[in-house]
Amino acid sequence: MPLSLLLLVLAVLSAFAYRFGTGRARAIAPGRQQATLHSRPTYHGFYVALWCGLPALLVAVAWVAMQPILVKGLVLAGLPDSYSALPEARLNLIWNDIRNLALGDVVRAAPAPEIQAAAETFRRLYTIGQAALAVLCLVLAPLGARYAYGRVSRDLRARNRVETVITVFLVASSLVAIFTTIGIVLSLLFESLRFFGKVPPLDFLFGLHWSPQTALRADQVGSSGSFGAVPLFTGTLLISLISMCVAVPVGLMSAIYMSEYAHRKFRAVAKPLLEILAGIPTVVYGFFAALTVAPFIRRLGESMGISVASESALAAGLVMGVMIIPFVSSISDDVINAVPQAMRDGAYALGATKSETIRNVIVPAALPGIVGGVLLAVSRAIGETMIVVMAAGLAANLSFNPLEAVTTVTVQIVTLLTGDQEFDSAKTLAAFALGLVLFCVTLGLNIFALHVVRKYREQYE
């Protein structure tokens, strides 16, 4: 029985259990006697339903987590002795073959007979496991329901029990965010450490040459791979800088116009329209940048006699800047609105025009908040992937010329990981090291920016 079907059956059983539970509670205290129950009948229903569904669900989760490990152990133990001496990596490859063979996927070549036998064992164990799980769950669910049903009585503190379970669920969900962060940090760190075992960290952070081709065979010439990430960092910075040159003036000026000049009606139309820019998927921007903006810039350059690379940093940066406009403008809007009206009134009273007030009073007063917002925008630009993957180049040029093709950290992560290669090569591990750098930089920027913005808000509250 597939897992989804099993879960569905459990849900249906729990629904029945709920009906029985409430019915039983109502039968114990019919009509006006209901007040003599400790908990209302619905809570008795939930109590029985939880006893029906929860134990079976927990068993199912544990089973699904454990089964692959057990099956792997059993299948590998069943292989001839010559296999058990193999190193871990080789064994994992063989294991993949067995699994693909058993699940009917494509297999490289004609498999050896013992592999085929192992695949057969795998398939048998797998089927047995699924069947056993289904039987176990379908026995546990009615048993639990029966037990809870028997306990339904006037004095059963069903509400408290149910609420305890819900509280546990609430606490557990709030931990998911923590576990996500831990998962990110551990996975990045773990793989990066393996990468730094092969490439020294200093070479990675300060090396000037990036060509992540590793040798397939030990005797191959000229492809030892070099992992100096400086060209990627400069490329990322260049594209982010271009995008900021677009996003900051346009975003800031539109925020100022919206909050200080615009008529209420104009604002009501223009603001949501501007927000649409933030909702367009980045892959759409990437397509537009690669297909429309880049050729346009190239033709423009040609007509002026300047040679522009077809994957210039300028095209990617411009489009990314447009994408970030609503982000900058909405943060600036908040920040500008937080400046006390008294400061504006003071400037007006001194005879300042509106633009003088804005330039000399409001913007300086809002500057920390705006800076914080811009930093958040920078961290967005650094982490943005699809636009640069589609519109920026792959060649790691150490250049600050916006008309040349440069590559970025995110582009390299994608190219390193979307090809076909084994997981343990320095090439794939390098992607995790780049990811770690990306994570650290954006996290640092965010923490700093949020700190600045919060400090600023406190100042005027």
Binding site: S4, P68, R159, E163, I166, L170, V171, S173, S174, L175, A177, I178, T180, T181, S187, E191, P249, L252, M253, S254, I256, Y257, M258, E260, A270, L273, L274, L277, G279, I280, P281, V283, V284, Y285, L291, T292, V322, P326, L350, G351, A352, T353, K354, S355, E356, R359, S379, R380, I382, T385, T410, I413, L417, A431, G435, L438, F439, T442, N446, I447
Partner: protein, 436 residues
């Protein structure tokens, strides 16, 4: 502010003259500044309009597909020489020969092998399967003749749609003069027509642009979004409820809060790396599967939903809570019966917005292998699948000219979904949101 802070010893009249002298310049500066603001907004909006116009302009033609009407003779010798009507045997028959024969009959003077191959190339290779499907739908056709519309190849499609310049030198275009002459001959007999491209909406991916469709990607997106919604909505709401209503204010909950805010700002591709390392490598879940995509997107969407839900919960006035508690409700009853229903419109709006972001997300899904070339339409959560934005990425990378319009058309479909979702969010907000 220099013009205002000049501290002159002159009397009132002198100052007034100074101010009056500068006032024209200052008002001009004022108007200029105001204009800059307007220009900023207008240029952003103009860019947006350009983007939409360019994509719709490139993409709308993909909803039509050039088809060729061929007089097919359903030859018994080719389809079912023994006359057994055995489906297995009939499936193996060479249906491609039928349309090639029809083409040859129409252009009997095409003799050389190369030319005949070129002639056959006018029709998409998918015609083979469509003719077969006709036969299987109506076996009575066998032995008869009939006019059949079959898809033209992508080059013909581009020529008919006017994307190939007929006047350019022959070697610069993908169509030779001969092919263009054949097309014109067919068109003169009313045998060429652009018809509604139903394949685009019902087929999976294909290497042939004229056969490629988005149904596989749409199904993949649907399955992925289903997983994301089922996981992220309860988890997000539960976290928000816990942090807003139950959590003690201490260091621990502070950490959780800071954590959620930071997660919201982590680049999406890092979530992809997490998915690759944890779900694929550690837990051994299948590559390219909607369930893994859904898990990754869940982790990515959770912060959005949590933050929106918390704002929504905060906006429920304390008097409601106190009234519930005053009537003897437990804290949990207060939350589930009173606070949550009142906060639900805001929570749903936040969820829809989060789901919209997840639907348009591409980068993390590339990391977990959803970028593979997958022809089959996925039917389960662990079938290999791709999603709509990734399909757009794959097509955008393809060399064929015809894929440009397919890509744009897929973008139109994706944007339509997003607009619908956002409209639903706006509607929910305006319909149900209460100001206290």
């Amino acid at each position: 502010m220099s013009e205002m802070t000049v501290d002159t010893p002159r009397g009132g009249a002198g100052t007034r003259a100074l101010v009056a002298a500068g006032i024209g310049r200052r008002y001009r500066a004022e108007r200029r500044f105001r204009l800059f603001g307007l220009v900023a907004i207008v240029s952003a909006l103009v860019f947006m309009v350009l983007l939409f116009v360019s994509i719709v302009g490139k993409g709308y033609t993909a909803f039509l597909q050039t088809e060729i009407r061929l007089p097919i003779h359903y030859d018994v010798q080719t389809i079912d020489p023994q006359g057994l009507r055995d489906p297995v045997e009939m499936r193996r028959a060479n249906y491609g020969k039928l349309y090639r024969d029809a083409l040859h009959e129409m252009f009997p003077d095409v003799e050389s092998r190369g030319d005949r191959r070129m002639l056959n190339g006018l029709v998409s290779s998918g015609a083979t399967f469509e003719i077969r499907d006709h036969v299987f739908a109506d076996p009575a056709l066998i032995g008869k003749k009939g006019e059949v519309w079959v898809p033209a190849s992508d080059d013909v499609d581009m020529l008919v749609k006017g994307n190939v310049d007929r006047n350019s030198p022959e070697h610069e275009r993908r169509m030779t003069d001969k092919e263009i002459a054949w097309i014109d001959a067919l068109a003169a007999q009313d045998r060429i027509e652009t018809r509604f491209n139903w394949r685009f909406f019902t087929q999976g991916d294909s290497r042939e642009p004229e056969l490629a469709g988005i149904w596989g990607a749409v199904s993949g997106s649907f399955l992925t979004m289903l997983v994301t919604l089922v996981l992220s909505f309860p988890l997000g709401v539960a976290t928000a409820v816990y942090l807003e209503e139950f959590a003690p204010k201490n260091r621990w909950t502070d950490i959780i809060e800071v954590n959620i805010n930071n997660l919201a700002a982590i680049p999406s591709i890092v979530f992809g790396l997490l998915g690759l390392a944890v779900f694929l490598q550690f837990f051994g879940l299948p590559r390219s599967a909607p369930v893994v995509g859904g898990l990754v997107l869940t982790l990515m969407t959770l912060p959005t939903i949590i933050i929106a839900s918390r704002v929504s919960l905060q906006s429920v006035p304390p008097s409601i809570r106190e009234a519930a508690l005053g009537l003897g409700a437990s804290k949990m009853q207060m939350v589930t019966n009173d606070v949550l229903p009142l906060a639900m419109p805001g929570i749903l709006t936040g969820t829809i917005i989060g789901m919209g972001r997840a639907l348009g997300e591409t980068a993390p899904l590339l990391m977990i292998g959803m970028v593979a070339f997958i022809v089959d339409v996925p039917h389960g959560f662990s079938d290999p699948a791709t999603v709509l934005p990734v399909q757009i990425y794959i097509w955008a990378d393809s060399a064929e000219r015809a894929f440009v319009e397919r890509t744009s058309a897929a973008i139109i479909v994706l944007l339509t979904f997003l607009i619908l979702m956002n409209a639903a969010a706006v509607y929910l907000r305006s319909k149900f949101e209460r100001r206290w």
